[in-house]
């Protein structure tokens, strides 16, 4: 039951993430990306990581993708106004993509085919346990990542601020 459900959801994730890059319309791409994130949420629930699932739901689907959609709606993306890419750019893109593929395949080959991690505590994904681990064992990385986010926020405010007139 659980395994077949996993394969179904995994198929859907791959299918929708392919649709993200295969559709021509950027708005459709963003909508497919939202569906892809939703399938990730289902994956987290299957892994019994409820907190991660719901946070993925709120942050990615509820906030970040709304902003993506917001920006794309303001851009007037028509076929006529879009600059035609030259053949040189297309060939360069193809070569770069193939290089990435080779690197990925190489790194995948070095892994063992099936190396399942057995959790000591299957309830680690629940809010209470996750909070305890984050605020004791992983306190330093947690605080450092929060400082990183704060820096990004200050930087964004600084960029958005109107520059004082020099004249």
């Amino acid at each position: 039951m659980s395994v077949s459900l996993f394969y179904l959801v995994a198929f859907l994730s791959i299918f929708f993430s392919l649709m993200v890059i295969l559709t021509k319309n950027p708005i459709h791409s963003v909508l497919y990306l939202i569906v892809t994130f939703f399938t990730f949420t289902i994956h987290y629930i299957l892994l019994n990581a409820q907190f991660l699932a719901i946070v993925n739901f709120i942050v990615y689907m509820g906030a970040i993708m709304v902003l993506f959609l917001f920006v794309l709606m303001l851009l007037n993306l028509d076929k006529d106004s879009e600059p035609m890419k030259s053949n040189f750019v297309k060939i360069a893109g193809l070569i770069a993509g193939l290089c990435l593929l080779i690197t990925l395949i190489g790194s995948m080959k070095s892994l063992n085919i099936s190396d399942p991690v057995i959790l000591k505590d299957p309830d680690i994904g629940l809010v209470k346990n996750l909070g305890k681990v984050l605020f004791s064992e992983f306190l330093l990385p947690f605080e450092i990542s929060s400082i990183l986010l704060l820096t990004a926020m200050v930087g964004a405010v600084l960029i958005a601020k109107r520059e004082p007139k020099t004249t």
Binding site: I27, Q50, I54, F57, I58, A63, L69, F70
Partner: protein, 346 residues
Amino acid sequence: MELAFVLEKFILITVIFLVSLGVAAYSTLAERKIAGYLQDRVGPNRAGPGGMFQPLADGLKMFMKEEIIPTDSNKFLFIAGPSLALLTACIGSAVIPWGPNIILGGKTIALQVADINVGVLYIFGVVSLGVYGLMIGGWASNNKFSLMGAVRAASQSISYEIPMGLSLIALLLVTNTLSLKEIVEQQHGGNWNIIYQPLGFIIFLVCSFAETNRTPFDLPECETELVGGYHTEYSGFKMGAFMFAEYLNMFVASAVMSTLYFGGYNYPGIDWVSNLVGPIIGPLIAMAVLFAKIFAFIFFFMWVRWTVPRFRYDQLMNLGWKVLIPLAIANIVISGIVITVYDKFF
């Protein structure tokens, strides 16, 4: 056992779904009646006794109207917009505890669809999804007014989600749990969270107005500036779906506020009454009390709509970012200090 469980949940979901649709339908009538009362006129009173069948007449009118899909619109997304709005409005009620457990023939029946231990976050997630229906519908209409409405809906919802989340954090400091069932049970015996979080409740209330797009924050459909906002191009039942979603959102938001801050289904003397009338009628009375609280909140929503004029857009943004967010952060800090001091010395 498995089948009985599925059947029980299926019946519960169906009942909740039908009840929320009924409440939403009759909210439209109540809104017009209350508007009439506040403006010193009668309101709809032709269909049935006192206008009781007005929602049915309105629904029939919506179905009979011609469905217009603009030629240059994106057809799939044009239909997906109102559908998504309805869907996200309906799924929020899944984690709300409607009443205490009923004991029927030695079997305990929970009046809650899913008691997940991240219930508060689930509600928050569903609220943040609610904007997609408006955005997609507004964009797919291929109309500048609709697009403006969609953009306003997105920025308003993102802005007001932040103070809403921050006020919830202060509430969680008090309750120590994310499960709505446990939050309600903690408020047993007049121990309501509004006593501990009055400021948090006011912030949450203002944000609920913004998230449900109700006046004074209905900028996405501001008809004085944008014709009809995101639903300018919609007609017939798709227009009705957007309107219905708004009333459903109002119902769910009222239920959430009653549950989080006003004791849910608890009322003074609940133990005495449930001892008196037994384990089947008692929970039903508690459920009726919850619905009374919800209706009081829905009345409050309508009262504000017909009293307070619409905000200007810059006033809306100033209120969100410069007033509500600092207030919510101050609320968290004060709550944290008070709780720490209380735990340490008492």
